[in-house]
Each structure stands twice: as C-alpha cells, then as structure tokens.
C-alpha cells in the first residue's frame, strides 16, 4: 500500500520526514493486537511507549524529544482514511500517493 515509502522515491526532505518512524510502526503494528485504539510514540526505530490518550502521547513525546521529530500514531488494524469534501485539496508538496 505504501509503495513509495518502500522505494524511497521522495522529492524532498519534507516527504522523508517521519519515514523511519512510519516504517517502524508498520513493521511492528501486527504485534500490537492488544493495544488497538492506543497511541504509539515512536522515534526512529524505537517504540517509546503506548498511551490511552493523544494528549498524553504528545506530552511524553515533547518531554523526551523536545522539538525533534517523533511520531504519534493511533494503532488500528486497518489504517484509517480521512475524507475531505470537494473543492479542498491536500497541501501541495506535502503528500504523495499512498498506493
């Protein structure tokens, strides 16, 4: 599904940001059946912890890493897809095809 991440086909630093963390999430998410709905805090290849609330995960992330890059992602069996209505477009350069 996330072929571009696997091939490393990125055009800018912006797109590579969080690449390692998302790779770690995808590698490990199948181990976390008992943590569905919780928020995983990840930096590079390290899974720092799991939190029941988004705010707690963010607080821990900032406490441990300050303004460095880290990932906070809710654990789901199937990746949640968000929907936007017509006339809206995701920001230029901030996205790429997921397939």
């Amino acid at each position: 599904m996330f072929a571009l991440w696997a091939t490393g086909d990125f055009m800018s630093t912006e797109k590579t940001l969080l690449e390692k963390e998302l790779g770690t999430y995808r590698k490990r998410v199948s181990e976390w059946d008992d943590k569905i709905g919780q928020y995983a805090l990840i930096q590079n290849e390290t899974v720092v912890g799991f939190y029941t609330s988004y705010a707690d995960a963010m607080a821990q992330g900032y406490a441990k890493f300050g303004l460095e890059t880290f990932l906070v992602k809710q654990i789901n069996v199937v990746e949640q897809t968000h929907f936007l209505p017509p006339l809206m477009s995701p920001a230029n350069g901030a996205f790429h095809k997921a397939h």
Binding site: F2, Y62, M88
Partner: protein
C-alpha cells in the same frame, strides 16, 4: 452549555477559531525557554463532510509546527486512491460570547490542506463536531453550535 447562532454565509457556516500550538508543545517550548508562537485567528468552515479538522499551510507556518504523523486521505480531487498528508498537533479554542466558557481542545491532531483560496484557513471537521450540537437551519440561513 455555551452556544451561538450565526448566519450561513456564501461559503457556508463559518466561524472564527483560535488556533495555537498545543498545550503539551507550549509546555515544551516554555521549558526550553523558546518563544511560543502567537495564536492564529482563522476563519473556519464547519464541515460535516470532513472527518478530521484541517488547517491551511499558512497556519502551520505561523505556528512553526512540525508534522507528527502522516495519514491517508481521500478527496474528490484525489480520485479513489488515498494520498498521504501531514498531520500536526495544535490547540483549538472556539468562542461563543464573552459571558460563556469557550470550547478548548488543548491537543488535537489536524490534517494539512490548502484552503485559503476558498476564503478560510480551517475546516472544522467531525472530530470537533463530535463534541458539539450542530443545528443547521437552511430555511432561515442560520446555524447554531452548542458545546
């Protein structure tokens, strides 16, 4: 329960929303003795068609945010295949009137979307609306929001 009623404008039900860095980020910036970016008063469209709240890049720049996640998103303009968009951590405050407590969400993950060409900088999605009562009166061209 705080509430307000406003006219439905040309672009739909719009409101002013104060967007700030999230409370956890504010604490981190304060502890690092770094300046805390001023809040951004955005024009927001109340949108039941948006599953998540979105902000324009102009807000991201003003609040000096960095992405904390990437999520899949589908819009009619992207076709059937989801695309990946950055998600950011912000705080949201919606005011009703001076004598009523505003709605404060200290930390909320929001998506990035180019909106300013539409005349607003934020989409108020169902993640926020799930905390509210929304009444859309098309006959009188007014809407009410309670929280």
């Amino acid at each position: 329960m705080a509430h307000f009623t406003r006219p439905i404008e040309q672009y739909g039900p719009l409101l002013n929303v104060l967007l700030t860095v999230s409370a956890p980020r504010m604490v981190a910036l304060d502890e690092m003795k770094k300046p805390i970016p001023q809040g951004f008063v955005a024009y927001g469209l109340v949108d039941t068609g948006a599953s998540c709240t979105s902000i324009d890049p102009v807000v991201i720049e003003a609040l000096e945010l960095q992405p904390i996640n990437k999520v899949s998103m589908v819009t009619p303009s992207t076709g059937p295949d989801p695309i990946l968009v950055n998600q950011y951590d912000i705080g949201v405050t919606i005011y009703s009137s001076e004598d009523q407590e505003p709605m404060r969400i200290p930390a909320l993950p929001v998506c990035e979307s180019t909106l300013r060409n539409q005349g607003f900088q934020s989409l108020i999605g169902r993640d926020i609306l799930s905390l509210c009562l929304l009444f859309y009166n098309g006959a009188t061209q007014q809407y009410s929001l309670s929280f």
